[in-house]
């Protein structure tokens, strides 16, 4: 009466084998090169344009130095202990502020995402907060916390948290309804449904929110360090401000390059995490 189990097994295995994709990923060296050359070309073009502007003598050399003196200054700067000390202070503030922002978002966002009246009340406010330039918070922050670390943290958190929360909320909004139904069919309800199905499904959007949140945190931090200079605590922003006061253009530009590089590096880390996630989920076309 039953179908021939052995034959079925063989047919099934044959079909499975035929339907499997073949071929692995491109070689590492090839991948690195194909990712790197456009970036290297972009840097070369940027340096070239910079040099061109300097060569036109629109501004005197001591105001706008060319890439040569600035890069030499940068090379000197990174050899000093003070620089690393300042960078450490800045990064510590960035990490602390960003972590606090994640914490705030992690508490607020799930509530806003799942409770409808709260959503109506607070949802628009979060988006509003996101569009508010963080520098506009500093007068209030200084009034509340004086010229202190707390003032900087306050603004960094206000800058980053809305983006992170928004990422989570919109991720929850866009969870495929089929997965929710599948989850309910598996017996997941309420918090268990949220934890096992909704939250993981919202992960790509969360990651996008974190990435955007970081960009806001970094901007807020730089604004904060320029305005709120805490005595005896050198930071990248404070050094930037001193360089301007001393009209030390090469030092100023060198520090700006550092600010840019840190921003790019962290953004790239988020980009890598995002791509890894997409590859795991099968959201990228592996043929390219």
């Amino acid at each position: 009466m039953a179908v021939d189990e052995r034959v079925l097994q063989q047919e099934m295995a044959g079909l499975d084998a035929l339907e499997q994709e073949q071929g692995g990923r491109a070689r590492l060296a090839n991948r690195v090169w194909s990712a790197a050359w456009p970036k290297l070309a972009a840097i070369a073009i940027a340096l070239g344009l910079w040099q061109l502007v300097v060569a036109l003598h629109l501004k005197p050399d001591y105001v706008l130095p060319g890439p040569g003196p600035v890069l030499r200054q940068l090379a000197d700067t990174v050899r000093t202990a003070e620089f690393w000390h300042a960078l450490a202070t800045t990064m510590r503030r960035a990490v602390f502020g960003f972590s606090m922002a994640i914490l705030v978002a992690a508490v607020v966002a799930p509530l806003v995402a799942t409770i409808r009246p709260l959503r109506t009340a607070v949802g628009a406010m979060i988006t509003g907060l996101q569009t508010m330039p963080s520098i506009a918070w500093f007068p209030l922050a200084i009034l509340l916390f004086k010229l202190s670390e707390a003032a900087i943290t306050f603004v960094v958190v206000l800058g980053a948290a809305p983006s992170i929360a928004n990422g989570l909320v919109s991720g929850v909004d866009h969870v495929p309804p089929l997965l929710v139904r599948a989850g309910r069919m598996l017996g997941a309800r309420g918090p268990r449904l949220f934890w096992h199905i909704v939250l993981p499904a919202a992960l790509p959007s969360c990651l996008a929110g974190l990435k955007q949140g970081w960009a806001f945190a970094w901007r807020s931090l730089m604004a904060g360090e320029l305005i709120v200079i805490v005595a005896n605590r050198p930071s990248i922003g404070a050094r930037l401000q001193f360089a301007r006061e001393l009209s030390d253009a090469p030092a100023l530009l060198a520090l700006m390059i550092v600010v840019l590089l840190v921003g790019i590096a962290v953004d790239a880390a988020f980009g890598t995490a995002d791509r890894a996630l997409r590859r795991r989920w099968g959201l990228v076309d592996t043929a390219t």
Partner: protein, 260 residues
């Protein structure tokens, strides 16, 4: 030899206990659409019932009601047979979990201990001929393989009643053929009750003990066909084709009604 007996009124199969009872069920959506109108359907324990009908016959609505994902506007739905679970047309696997992870989550949500989950999921993957594929992610599997993982995940819940909503609709004919054999084997071995929705009449004749034809807009039970073709069946066999022809004729007559 008569392979088919047609009854126009639903009569529960008195020879076995009911696993699914649908009594006078109507479903009206908030949009005003009446999807189901006074549907009666009783599925016996261990029975394989196929629901066929054209678009808009409320097949999926009926399964959702039995699965408990939705409530009827009127009437009563009961699953005295025990736990019912629903398989969708798409496998609906969680993309962040491996094949084994998907099955293990089903076990976890049932309260199965961690150590036991691993062994049990491997066992279930073997059952659907996917042994050793546990660490694959859904996107690394073909459509047919994903659907088998979904079947294994459904079986992980140890259901008594398996509700299937056009589960093989998106698969190619060859794969579907093999999955019919596979499903028939698991059904007979596990003593499951299956309610299988399809728009493919041949598939219904290949698999069902009984075929229930639903009308469209609103969905009502139009006709029933008791299938007396002995198993194992082949989809290309004359008996299956013959029955499929009869059901198709009835389905066409029903569809034509809406053209007038």
């Amino acid at each position: 030899m008569t392979l088919v007996s047609i009854r126009t009124k639903t009569e529960p199969d008195r020879s076995r206990e009911a696993a699914v009872e649908v009594e006078g069920v109507s479903k009206r959506y908030p949009t005003g659409v009446l999807a189901l109108d006074n549907v009666d359907l009783t599925v016996g324990t261990g029975e394989f019932v196929c629901l066929v009908g054209a678009s808009g016959c409320g097949k999926s609505t009926l399964l959702n009601l039995v699965a408990g994902l939705d409530r009827p506007t009127a009437g009563r739905v009961a699953v005295p047979g025990g736990r019912a679970t629903l398989l969708f047309q798409e496998a609906a696997l969680l993309p962040w979990q491996t094949a084994a992870g998907n099955i293990e989550l089903a076990l976890k949500l049932r309260g199965v201990g961690k150590a036991e989950r691993k062994a049990k999921s491997a066992e279930l993957l073997d059952l659907v001929h996917l042994g050793g594929m546990g660490d694959r992610r859904p996107h690394e599997l073909s459509g047919g393989m994903r659907q088998r993982v979904a079947l294994a995940r459904a079986l992980a819940q140890e259901p008594d009643v398996l509700l299937m909503d056009e589960p093989f609709g998106a698969l190619d004919a060859m794969t579907r053929d093999l999955l019919h054999d596979e499903l028939e084997r698991i059904w007979s071995e596990a003593g499951l009750t299956i309610v299988f929705v399809t728009h493919n009449v041949r598939e219904a004749a290949r698999l069902g003990d009984r075929i229930v034809l639903l009308t469209s807009r609103p969905g009502r039970v139009a006709k029933e066909f008791a299938v007396a073709i002995p198993r194992p069946r082949r989809i290309e066999s004359p008996d299956v084709s013959g029955l499929a022809g009869e059901v198709t004729a009835a389905l066409r007559a029903e569809v034509a009604r809406h053209g007038r």
